[in-house]
């Protein structure tokens, strides 16, 4: 019995992204396609998103011209491809405040947003630092914080301090402080609703970019078995990323396929997927009882 359906929805992508960006230490190892995605969770009468992407109106031209980001589509189009509308979304979990995860709150007019309080507080602190330390506030748009303030004034922003269970029934939030960002979090779906679930999915945000972050090459440290290799970018530390990965893996009983990296193109090889007429991928992670497939 499964309570929720989960889809990973691609809304844009970079065709040639250097591998070292997604895998710590993978220098001079070529390029990979990097999809930009968010996740949608539907069940028990609720529709939730994990992150909301970015707003092409604000960033599209510079991302397209300078970084090769292609084929951005609005949530209206992307969610429409599975028969939903952004106005259907009642809950959004923001894994972290980078522009490509927190940059499009305006397109979800009825949702309540959850974010770690530390994510707000520490970015606020970073913005007060001298210019010579500005590396510590990269990829954050002050405009997203301004829009976050608007959400707060509408009572649609909830800040969370650490872990919180059952934000929605069977859905928990977990913090990974000082890792990819200061207050990153991941979302755990206990899909049978049980406290000790045997049907758990982890939506990892940017704590895990690709499969190799979980099943990386151990040769670099003379280990034959796969090891955790953290993502490259961390304003916190790679150590904290590895510790968070261990915690996520523990939650899924060390069944690595249940930790979902949304920037991973090869999700299509592990889960049923289809490409929409806009050339974007829909990956169906699991289906709730009675829910029709969107990729069949």
């Amino acid at each position: 019995m499964s309570d929720y359906s989960i889809w990973v929805l691609e809304y844009s992508y970079v065709t040639d992204y250097h591998k070292s960006g997604v895998l710590y230490g993978a220098h001079n190892q070529g390029y990979v396609k990097l999809p930009y995605c968010y996740a949608l969770i539907k069940g028990k009468g609720r529709t939730a998103m994990v992150d909301v992407g970015y707003n092409d109106k604000d960033y599209g031209k510079v991302l397209g011209d300078r970084f090769g980001v292609e084929n951005w589509r609005s949530p209206k189009v992307v969610l429409g491809s599975i028969g939903l509308d952004p106005a259907d979304v009642d809950t959004v979990f923001i894994t972290h405040a980078h522009f490509d995860h927190f940059g499009n709150v305006e397109d979800f007019p009825k949702a309540t947003f959850y974010i770690q309080e530390r994510e707000i507080a520490k970015w606020t602190w970073a913005m007060a630092l001298p210019d010579r330390m500005r590396w510590m506030m990269t990829a954050v748009d002050p405009g997203d914080i301004v829009r976050g303030l608007d959400l707060a004034r509408q009572r649609r922003l909830v800040t969370v301090d650490g872990a919180r269970a059952d934000v929605l029934p069977g859905i928990d939030l977990h913090a990974a402080f000082d890792s990819h960002t200061y207050g990153s979090m991941w979302v755990t779906v206990r899909n049978d609703g049980k406290a000790a679930s045997s049907d758990t999915w982890v939506l990892a945000g940017d704590l895990v970019y690709v499969f190799e972050n979980i099943e990386g090459p151990g040769g670099a440290v003379d280990v034959a078995d796969p090891i955790y290799v953290p993502v490259g970018l961390a304003v916190g530390s790679q150590t904290n990323l590895v510790l968070a990965t261990e915690e996520m893996m523990k939650q899924v009983g060390y069944e690595s396929r249940r930790v979902i990296p949304i920037h991973e193109e090869r999700l299509r090889d592990r889960f049923p997927s289809r490409i929409t007429e806009e050339g974007l991928r829909i990956t169906e992670i699991c289906l709730a009882d009675g829910e029709p497939s969107r990729v069949a």
Binding site: V14, D58, A121, T124, M137, I145
Partner: protein, 196 residues
């Protein structure tokens, strides 16, 4: 004499007649100036354009950070109801940075029509100041909620004004993408036209 390309782009944007709250500006986004980066003759010397660009970039960056910082503090007050955030040194430090920005704007020579751009920076700076002043009053027993609302409204307007003064070619951008999580250090793989 050939003027610096980015300086010309900024000039082009600055002389475009739009109020900062104009829907055409808001609708086209902060990076619209790049679309208009068409070489044009200007009476301003290239050295003056470059000097303005560098000075404006420093002010822009300071204001950008202040807007993010104050908005973040306002969120924390709004969602937690904790007025003791007012006791943190952050607001005082923000005031000091704002004073630095004000002095920098005052000393920024703006050749020709770049005065319009400078006026936007000055207006954004004033709005940030008004937000800070209102923020300082939000701990008052009477009128605290109204002050919080005023501080929020002013900082949102300051963001819009500053956004209207942004120009990617001149390095005045609302987001520093150089280390962005999904674009960090990525070399350009395409030029304009590569997107559908």
């Amino acid at each position: 004499m050939r003027a610096d390309a980015a300086g010309r782009a900024l000039f082009e944007r600055a002389v475009t007649i739009h109020r900062e709250d104009c829907a055409a500006v808001a609708g086209s986004g902060g990076f619209a100036a790049s679309d208009a980066a068409v070489p044009m003759e200007t009476s301003a010397a290239p050295e003056a354009l470059v000097a303005y660009r560098l000075g404006a970039a420093a002010v822009f960056d300071t204001l950008r950070c202040l807007i993010g910082q104050i908005s973040g503090l306002l969120i924390l007050v709004e969602v937690s109801g904790r007025r003791d955030i007012l006791d943190l040194p952050d607001l005082g430090l923000a005031g000091e940075r704002l004073a630095t920005a004000e002095a920098a704007i005052a000393g920024l020579p703006a050749p020709g029509a770049l005065g319009a751009h400078k006026a936007r920076l000055a207006r954004a700076q004033r709005l940030v100041g008004e937000s800070l002043s209102a923020f300082a009053r939000c701990g008052e027993v009477s009128g605290g909620a109204a002050a919080l609302a005023e501080a929020s409204e002013r900082i949102a307007t300051a963001y819009q004004v500053l956004r209207a003064a942004s120009d990617v070619e001149a390095g005045l951008t609302m987001v520093d993408f150089r280390q962005a999580c999904c674009t960090c250090a990525s070399a350009p793989t395409r030029v304009a036209g590569g997107r559908p």
